[in-house]
Amino acid sequence: MTQNDAGDSPPALRTDQLGRRYGRVWGLRDCTLEVPAGAIVGLVGPNGAGKTTLLEMIIGLLEPTEGELSVFGETSHSPMAARLARVSYVAQDHPLYRDFSIADMFHLGRSMNPSWDQALAQARMDALDIPLKRKVKSLSGGQRAQISLTMALAKRAPLLVLDEPVSSLDPIARLEFMREVMATAAESGLTVLIASHVVSELERLCDWLIVLTSGRVQLAGPADDLIAAHPLLTVPRATPDADLPGVIIQRTDSDRHSTVLVRADPARLAAQQHPAWQADPVSFEHLVLAYLQRPSARAATDDIAQAAARPGPSTKAVSR
């Protein structure tokens, strides 16, 4: 997936120095991102990292304290209805009105969305074999998730945001749910943003990755580029950090060798490569976990600032 820096059509999502403060605490800060249309984006972070804060600002449920945000060209200064029309949202735990029937839920969707696609909603219920007369409270968790997804898809917005969509589902329902999401995304060219704890799940689905910890973006970019920019080096244990190229993300020392995940420009790295070093591609999951385990968000941000200031390794894929 290539980035669309000066493209003709607006990016699916662009944020610039976006921040949100709750009282004196920042839920999210200095968030600068640009996600191209059509990307399937995984958003990862521990609880309290600011994932929901970011999602809610994208959806329009929360206003930014500072910075800029635009979704398909609609900024936080655009009329609310125009902003809301660009995003559909599947909230965590799939909230629905318990005493409504499915037909009632769809009626609600129809009366609250000018672009509502009733045919799509009905076709999906037929395919899932769920009668429209059923009451929401009589549905299983998996079925509720499907209703939530159907309502989001029938809104016909170009960006689909899913907050922990499968955390409450059993493994079969998870598979079915994500299969539906991916099939529809491929079919209608949706941009999808999925916040999840399940890193392995995201690896299969996502071609774009955002890692958030402590309210800061630690890593963002196309998954392939990020993996290419993070070689996993095996070096003699005695090698000091200062000799290693790029920024050290994680270092694990064993008896004789050290395994070091670094962020470095692949071309530069090839030139700098020491004969005793071995470079392997990092796995998606390893990369994500390494960033999640870094001791402090503040340190990571400082690293990025230093790395950017240094003439050395490029930080092209980071937060841009």
Partner: protein
């Protein structure tokens, strides 16, 4: 959006109609027998040529028979009913969405949440006004014979006629909607709205209402007896039905004249409508400003 509001509140609408129907049945049963008794006792003819002074026995018989039901028991129960209706409807309006997480669904549709709230508030407020007007009409109809002896300015009568009953409902509703947004829970919001509603309601009734306008004074000769204040005295110490006597000192009577009924209704309803507007305005502002 209108359909959504109707679908979410139709259960409450049906319950309110049930309350209204129960009230109407009670009113028709008691109102009919009261009308019959009023005619039989020849009170109509008596009142036509005096303020009840010509037929004290008939007046007393009538008030003894119906006074406790109409003036005391009914008043005690229904004092809190407008508040209960208001908080029950208002407490859940926003709090339920916050409690069940459905605000994420409701406010992420294309209709902005400001409009969502505006439509809901407009429709529910409209429904409550209709309910309040209907309850007022039923109560006013059924009380009519008694009112011919007591007037409309006595406390327990004033509370159910004219405009104030509707204004009480709206005020409790407005408080509960605001409390629901602040507390994010339906039941605590209902309690938190009801207590200040009742406090304001009682303070206005017992402290301020008698002095909305400066009371008048007159001198009477109370030596013959039967001259007093309160709902049991027909006519009041001023000798006119409908005056509200505030105090009698020697032979000086301080009172509010009967023809101030509508002025007082507008003043009191105005206070409660202003409180409603303040609460709902604060809700709209908070929901617009705070996001989530």
């Amino acid at each position: 959006m209108i359909w959504v509001s109707w679908r979410q509140h139709r259960g409450q609408a049906i319950s309110c109609l049930a309350v209204l129907a129960a009230l109407a049945v009670y009113a028709i049963l008691l109102g009919t027998s009261m009308r019959t008794a009023f005619g039989n006792d020849a009170l109509t003819a008596c009142l036509a040529h005096s303020q009840g002074t010509a037929c004290p026995a008939a007046v007393q018989a009538f008030t003894n028979k119906f006074g406790s039901e109409v003036n005391i028991a009914f008043w005690a129960v229904t004092l809190i009913v407008p508040g209960l209706i208001g908080v029950l409807v208002g407490g859940s309006l926003i709090a339920r969405e916050l409690e069940y997480g459905t605000w994420r669904l409701a406010w992420s549709q294309t209709v902005p949440r400001a409009r969502w709230l505006a439509v809901k508030l407009a429709l529910v407020t409209g429904g409550l006004i209709v309910l309040g007007a209907a309850m007022t009409a039923v109560i006013t109809w059924y009380r009519a014979p008694m009112d011919r002896l007591t007037g409309h300015l006595q406390h327990n009568i004033f509370d159910f006629e004219g405009l104030v009953l509707t204004a009480y409902i709206l005020c409790a509703f407005g408080f509960a909607v605001l409390a629901g947004l602040l507390l994010r829970r339906s039941i605590p919001a209902m309690v938190a709205a009801f207590i200040p509603w009742l406090a304001i309601r009682l303070v206005i009734e017992f402290v301020f209402r008698d002095h909305f306008l400066a009371p008048l004074t007159t001198t009477v000769n109370c030596m013959q007896g039967g001259c007093g204040e309160g709902i049991g005295f027909v006519p009041q110490a001023t000798g006119r039905i409908g005056d509200l006597v505030l105090s009698i000192q020697g032979n000086v009577v301080t009172y509010q004249p009967a023809d101030r009924f509508w002025t007082f209704q507008f003043i009191e309803a105005g206070i409660f409508v202003a409180l409603t507007a303040a609460a709902l305005g604060a809700t709209i502002w908070l929901l617009h400003r705070r996001a989530a």
